[in-house]
């Protein structure tokens, strides 16, 4: 199949192109906490090789449901609740890419790269969840106060704009929205034209949503978040109201927005008054709903409140974030009620039920494993590992060229391909590079030449039998093959078991080793052979092979 040099070169070019493409620095959007303590999105360019915690520095926590102080009724549900709660706090960690993951049946793993204060991270994870139901600003008091807030901001020296366009074209935004949203265009218009000049109001859109609901373009989120926390703004917000963010961004057309709600400060209900919440398909409407049960006292209170506020919206907040769109109160609700989710599916209803239960039934967590690596240690590890790798590479190059001369030169250039393929493979499989992985890479630099050595020794032997270089090369490659395959199979197998049973750093080692072995076999039997073939074709008739 790869008989001609041309087709071989094409294959090599494709492999190189693939590896390079997977290593080209990419723009990634990270959410980071700035020096002022506000989360913002930062776009950076970086090589898509993931580094493990042991190289980046950070904290690794494994948590389980604490059963030591009395049994937890439904540990599986408790774990899901805890997972929901921790995920909802991801922003608070203040790191760019937190990992929150269920491992096995009963464990949650949280990995926070680059964090410096493990005590704070632990406190965020272990804090019990707080659920509250609050009425939204039905009389639009906040919107009416917006001009005053804008004036207060202008007086404080905050001007409209920043890098974001002060007045994103309403038409442009409507183009992407569906017809239902387009029907609201009149209101969207008023929302942006009425307050167009203000530093805060120019960033808030309403699209004719519910009273007290605003949408903030995702890119303006950090700016608005810092604005609404300024003392001038807080003083100007009508008494009894508070601005809170929605938990999830929503999309309107092609753009992504953060919902911002103006809600009453006073909660109607808190999590301790909720007994249970379950997702169900309503038998009459066939729609997904969440049914909830309150405590006796909670039911009394809820009945009283809902009676007065039929037709109003009620925001469900977990840890200060509004979950989904606030539903409308249809009638007086006692101990049992249900939340209709419109055309949402059962999964979404289950998620909401989980949020409610998470706030109602705290899931006691205990830390069963904790590892922290300081950023300085991680940096040292990278530097030392890289140094070791460079020295190892130089030694291998010296030995190969010294021993095999011309053929060694071919092998060394193949080594360059080997390193490129290994790193490219790691990047395209989204593998994580850990410290043992780095060690595995250095180690495999030494091992990678093995296949070349096997082949070269064979070629030497064939040359000794007075074969021509062409025949010797051919025979050398063919005879070395069984030994190369046999020898590498065992290493791949042990590495596979290490991957299966190892923890993070060891997994990183196993992946690098496996990737390294494949790369070294490909370079030795394919790339080096192609070099030889090219040399054989070009050499003068009398030229000898120095090997």
């Amino acid at each position: 199949m790869f008989s001609t040099i041309r087709s071989r070169l094409i294959v090599i070019a494709l492999l190189v192109a693939g590896s390079v493409a997977s290593l080209i620095p990419r723009s990634v959007t990270l959410r980071e906490r700035g020096p002022d303590g506000v989360m913002r999105d930062v776009v950076i360019k970086r090589v898509p090789l993931k580094l493990g915690l042991d190289l980046l520095g950070g904290i690794h926590l494994a948590l389980e449901i604490d059963q030591s102080k009395g049994t937890v009724a439904n540990p599986r549900d408790a774990l899901e609740r805890a997972l929901t709660v921790i995920r909802s706090r991801v922003d608070e960690f203040g790191v760019s890419e937190p990992l929150v993951q269920q491992v096995g049946a009963d464990r949650i793993v949280v990995e926070l790269a680059g964090i410096t204060d493990p005590a704070r991270a632990k406190q965020i994870v272990e804090r019990s969840a707080f659920l509250e139901w609050r009425l939204t600003d039905m009389s639009n008091q906040f919107r009416d106060a917006l001009p005053a807030i804008d004036r207060a901001l202008e007086q404080a020296g905050v001007t409209t704009g920043g890098e974001a366009p002060a007045q994103p074209s309403t038409i442009q935004q409507l183009l992407g929205t569906d017809t239902a949203a387009a029907a609201d265009s009149v209101q969207a218009d008023t929302a942006s034209t009425a307050n167009e000049a203000g530093p805060l109001s120019s960033l808030l859109f309403s699209f004719g949503g519910r009273p007290g609901e605003f949408l903030v373009p995702e890119e303006d989120f950090p700016r608005v978040d810092s604005l609404i926390h300024l003392p001038e703004v807080e003083a100007a917000i009508p008494r009894g109201l508070q601005l809170v963010w929605g938990a999830e961004p929503v999309s309107q057309g092609a753009r992504s927005y953060r919902p911002l709600y103006s809600v009453e400060r006073r909660p109607v209900l808190t999590g301790d008054q909720l007994q249970d919440a379950r997702a169900q398909i309503d038998p009459t409407s066939k729609q997904a709903v969440v049914q909830f049960t309150l405590t006796r006292a909670g039911g009394r209170r809820f009945a009283q409140e809902t009676r007065q506020h039929v037709g109003d919206n009620m925001a469900i907040m977990l840890d200060g974030r509004v979950q989904r769109q606030p539903p409308v109160i249809r009638s007086e609700i006692g101990r049992n009620g249900q939340i209709e989710l419109g055309n949402a599916n059962l999964q979404e209803a289950q998620d909401l039920a989980l949020v409610l239960r998470a706030g109602a039934l705290p899931a006691p967590l205990q830390i069963v494993e904790e590892r922290t690596i300081g950023p300085s240690l991680g940096r040292d590890s990278i530097r030392e590992g890289t140094q070791a790798g460079i020295i190892a590479g130089v030694l291998v190059i010296l030995v190969m060229i010294g021993y095999y001369r011309f053929a060694g030169l071919l092998a060394v250039s193949a080594l360059g391909f080997y390193a490129l393929f290994t790193l490219g493979g790691l990047a395209s499989f989204d593998a994580t590079l850990t410290l043992p992985g780095l060690a595995g890479f250095v180690l495999s630099l030494g091992m990678a030449v093995d296949a070349n050595v096997l082949i070269f020794e064979r070629i030497r032997e064939e040359l000794k039998l007075n074969k021509t270089p062409r025949l010797a090369v051919e025979a050398g490659f063919n005879h070395a093959m069984p030994a190369i395959i046999d020898a590498n199979v065992t290493t791949v197998i042990t590495a596979a078991f290490l991957f299966q049973f190892g923890t993070g750093p060891v997994k990183g080692f196993a992946v690098t080793l496996i990737m390294g072995i494949f790369a070294s076999v490909i370079t030795a039997v394919f790339v080096t052979k192609t070099f030889f073939l090219i040399w054989l074709q070009r050499r003068g008739p009398a030229k000898e092979l120095t090997i």
């Binding site: 389980e64 604490d66 030591s68 205990q366 830390i367 069963v368 494993e369 904790e370 590892r371 922290t372 690596i373 300081g374 240690l377 590890s381 030392e384 590992g385 140094q387 070791a388 020295i391 190892a392 030694l395 291998v396 030995v399 010294g402 021993y403 410290l435 043992p436 060690a439 595995g440 250095v442 180690l443 630099l445 030494g446 091992m447 030449v449 093995d450 050595v453 020794e457 032997e461 069984p482 030994a483 046999d486 020898a487 590498n488 199979v489 065992t490 290493t491 197998i493 042990t494 590495a495 078991f497 290490l498 299966q500 049973f501 190892g502 923890t503 750093p505 060891v506 080692f509 080793l513």
Partner: protein, 321 residues
Amino acid sequence: MRLFDNANYNVMARWKPAMIITVLFVIPGLVLLAVHGLNSSIEFTGGTLFQVHANSPAVETQSIRTALSSGGITGAEIQTFGAADEFVIRARLDPRAQVSEETTQETERAVRAALTAAFTQEGYEIVRTEAVGPKVGSELRERAVLALVMGFGATFLVLWFRYEWRFGLAAIVATLHDIIATFAFVSYLNLEISLVVLAALLTLVGYSLNDTIVTFDRVRENVKKTKRQQYFYDILNQSINETLPRTVLTSGTTAAATLALLILGGSVIRPFAWVMTFGIVTGTFSSIFIASPVLLWVERRWPSEDVKVKRGIGMAAPVTA
């Protein structure tokens, strides 16, 4: 350049000194191991570990010990780690005591408090912590054992299918030699057994087998190729000598890599580098001096048809040659 070109060493005759070296190396190491036990990392025992970087000369082993004991923590191990101003503090969980996950977390708080009280916040810096509860510890032990058993099991299966059983048996004996010798080495240096060190052990098994397999592939080929009657003993010698340049060169480049790691790779990876470096030495040794003599011994006890018919009974070559 040529090394061991046309080498013709009677390697097989050296099995006795090789055996003596092995015994002399392994037995004291195993005795030491039996006396001291394995130095398991807290990953397996459960407990807490701190790596502390000293910012002031006041922080040294003795003052850390004093600080800890005045904070109510006794029995912690304190060692320098790689450099004079780096320390590792280990508080292992006593396997006999009643322990819970909270104990590890409390220990951590107590250690931080004790160090801050003695050296102030600026006097020291905690660069690494590990706190492993007893449940995770026993789980990791289980997984480590599983990885080792299944890793070895699978490689043995491959040898079984790929080779005739006599070759497989000899390769297994050579590999077991490497594992035992490595444990002896680990106990001499009192290296801590962690998951990463076990990973090195499994890797060196793969590496050592790799060496043995290359030699045995040559033996197989030479058995097929030889037309005239020849002692199996000589075929083994010939095969070892023919593969000697490759063995030396590959071991050399790999050893260059592991030595670079050992010297430059930093203190965290050093135990791994030690085990790998030793693994290359023992792997090379065993594939030359252990695997082939064992194969000869197995062939003598249970001669294969191939060797008997083609090579005659004459394979009972003079062992003392």
